[in-house]
């Protein structure tokens, strides 16, 4: 059964409680209409429910989320998927700053652009590997302190002059991998990363994730894959080993 809620002018506490109460009664699917700015939707939910969000959700969407699938039919704001553990979020629009901060599992599929500090502190542990894919371009400090997971920037439909990622790309990165469709200028790279070519394993991994991505956004996988990708990897898992005097 699907529970539809008109959220116009509804304070987030009321809305989120309504969702939690419904989950307790085994509700599994929600459609939220007239969302605008409600914070913490999906926060801390462990059940594999589905929520469709019509409107711009507020900050910290899906923070600590652990399982649900979210569809956002608008742009997301800041702090989307903050410290998220598991689940999937598909955004039919752009995402704000600090996307996927400390994210340690699950998947974010963003149709358009992502803001500053995307994937900051993203981590992986054993089988839990978070994935972020953005169809557009990213702001500065993308993949900052990244310690694990997969981050993909596609740069679809961008002007030639617009860089696919901002400055300080992968600064402080010490784990995980960033795939970029196209090129990045050397001076925009953080000190801790190097650019590599893709191997067969990379291509296989990309095809798997992008196949799913293309399905959601009605794109042609072949076409997306037709432009060459580069791969950013951290130079070392201990970039600051020689920083200190004892």
């Amino acid at each position: 059964m699907v529970m539809e809620i008109d959220c116009k002018g509804m304070y987030y506490k009321k809305l989120n409680k309504m969702i939690r109460d419904a989950i307790d009664k085994n509700e599994t699917e929600f459609i939220l209409h007239n969302i605008n700015g409600q914070r913490y939707i999906g926060n801390g939910i462990n059940e594999k429910i589905k929520i469709t969000i019509n409107g711009v959700p507020g900050n910290d969407l899906a923070m600590f989320m652990n399982g649900p699938s979210l569809i956002v039919n608008a742009n997301g704001q800041d702090g989307l998927a903050n410290t998220m553990n598991a689940g999937e979020i598909i955004v039919y629009g752009s995402a704000g700053d600090v996307l996927g901060y400390g994210m340690r599992g699950g998947k974010l599929l963003i149709r358009d652009n992502v803001g500053y500090r995307t994937g900051i502190h993203m981590k992986e542990y054993k089988k839990q590997v978070p994935v972020i894919i953005a169809g557009g371009v990213a702001g500065d400090f993308c993949g900052e302190y990244m310690a694990g997971g997969v981050l993909v920037l596609l740069g679809l439909d961008k002007d030639e002059d617009t860089p696919i990622a901002g400055d300080y790309l992968g600064t402080g990165m010490h784990g995980g991998v960033i795939y970029i469709r196209g090129e990045v200028e050397e001076h925009t790279l953080g000190k801790e990363v190097s650019v590599l070519e893709l191997n067969d394993k990379d291509i296989k991994l990309l095809k798997k994730h992008l196949g799913e991505y293309c399905k959601h956004f009605g794109l042609d996988l072949e076409e997306v894959m037709s432009k060459p990708f580069i791969k950013l990897l951290p130079v070392s898992s201990r970039p600051y080993g020689n920083l200190y005097a004892y």
Binding site: M10, N36, N59, N75
Partner: protein, 375 residues
């Protein structure tokens, strides 16, 4: 390892402008800032409005706050000596004013807090006597007098001092402040708003945003970590910083750089949020020369720390972020309207159908300007 802590809360700001000069009542801006209710803590809210006094457009409109009748009397004596008072009246208010509606960002039950215990709020429409401007410009004269009142009179405060504009601010949530000041009854072509979460400065009516001087108004989200040197820098140019708050420096820096040093708003913003040297080094020759000079000469004006700011002035509205974008700002356009807000939802609340919505890059300015033909 230390974290560069982006804090997704704190203050919020919002601004809207009709570039064709269409005047709108205050309901929309109140709704926009009310949506971001939880970013403030009810210890300060305020608005700046441009175009509200068309019948007194040639006079300096002083919005004043007095703690006591005695202070008002003393200050009025001073105003009489220094200006020609064309008109003075109480600023109309709705005592106990409150914004009752529930919104997606505000709980009706707990969120509303009626405004009580205001200071004496009075406005004066002032002309500068001609003989006073023999050696200084009118603006310079007004600046000096504003500085003098704010530093010499303990219980009097000039909330704003520009022409055909005014600041409406106080202790409370901004939407309640807006209702208290009856902003629904004013019409302006630029509105900016601020909701405050004061940490470093005590919550007092004068301390709320916007901060104004002449027709400059500033609403600001974040904290200026370079306040110490910005203050000392301004003091060398004769500014008196009495308000013990970092936002004040931004208003004065624009006054110094744009009005007194005659720099364009873009260049002034470049001094306040300069590009990094590594980027300057890669610029083409002339741009590098200009930008280097700005950093070398205006180092004391560099604002450091997390901030997003909306500057209002009689011809427009300017928004910009700190150099590494530690505070949020989203902009939107629909027809002749330009919107700026800490959150996209703050814009969507009052204009769901935007032609364009974007987040400006760190250190870049977004400029709204009245069309040239608009008087």
């Amino acid at each position: 390892m230390r974290c560069n802590c982006y804090i997704p809360s704190g203050c919020s700001i919002s601004g809207m402008m009709s570039e064709s000069g269409k005047r709108m009542d205050g309901n929309a801006i109140i709704r926009s800032i009310a949506l971001m209710h939880d970013r403030g803590n009810g210890l300060g809210g305020g608005f700046a409005a441009y175009g509200i006094y068309p019948r007194h457009a040639d006079q300096f409109a002083f919005h004043m706050m007095f703690d006591t009748k005695q202070a008002k009397k003393q200050c009025e004596e001073y105003l009489k000596d220094t200006f020609d008072i064309v008109l003075d009246e109480e600023i109309p208010t709705r005592p106990g004013g409150v914004f009752e509606e529930e919104t997606s960002g505000k709980d009706a039950e707990y969120g509303a807090r009626p405004i009580t215990d205001p200071p004496i709020l009075w406005r004066y429409f002032l002309d500068v006597p001609e003989e006073k401007t023999t050696f200084v410009t009118e603006d310079e004269y007004v600046v000096n007098k504003v500085m003098e009142i704010n530093s010499k009179f303990d219980s009097a405060f000039v909330a704003s001092s520009g022409k055909n504009m005014g600041a409406f601010k106080g202790v409370g949530y901004p939407e309640d402040i807006g209702m208290f000041y009856k902003l629904d009854e004013y019409k302006a072509y630029i509105w900016t708003a601020h909701s405050r979460f004061p940490t470093n400065t005590p919550g007092w009516w004068g301390g709320a945003h916007p901060f104004c001087l002449l027709d400059w108004s500033i609403v600001h989200n974040g904290e200026i970590s370079s306040y110490g040197i910005n203050k000392r820098y301004l003091e060398t140019f004769g500014y008196k910083l009495e308000l013990r708050t970092d936002t004040e420096v931004i208003a004065y820096l624009f006054d110094l750089l744009v009005r007194r040093h005659n720099l364009s708003v873009e260049i002034a913003a470049k001094a306040l949020a300069s590009p990094f040297w590594k980027d300057i080094d890669r610029m083409p020759d002339r741009e590098r020369k200009i930008t280097s000079a700005i950093r070398q000469v205006y180092g004391g004006a560099l604002l450091n720390g997390p901030f997003s700011v909306i500057l209002g002035h009689s011809r427009g509205m300017v928004g910009f972020n700190d150099r590494i974008k530690l505070r949020p700002m989203t902009c939107g356009r629909a027809d002749d309207m330009l919107y700026m807000s800490s959150e996209e939802s703050g814009i969507r609340e009052i204009e769901p159908d935007l032609d364009e919505v974007w987040s400006p890059k760190a250190g870049t300015v977004v400029i709204g300007e009245l069309h040239e033909e608009v008087q």
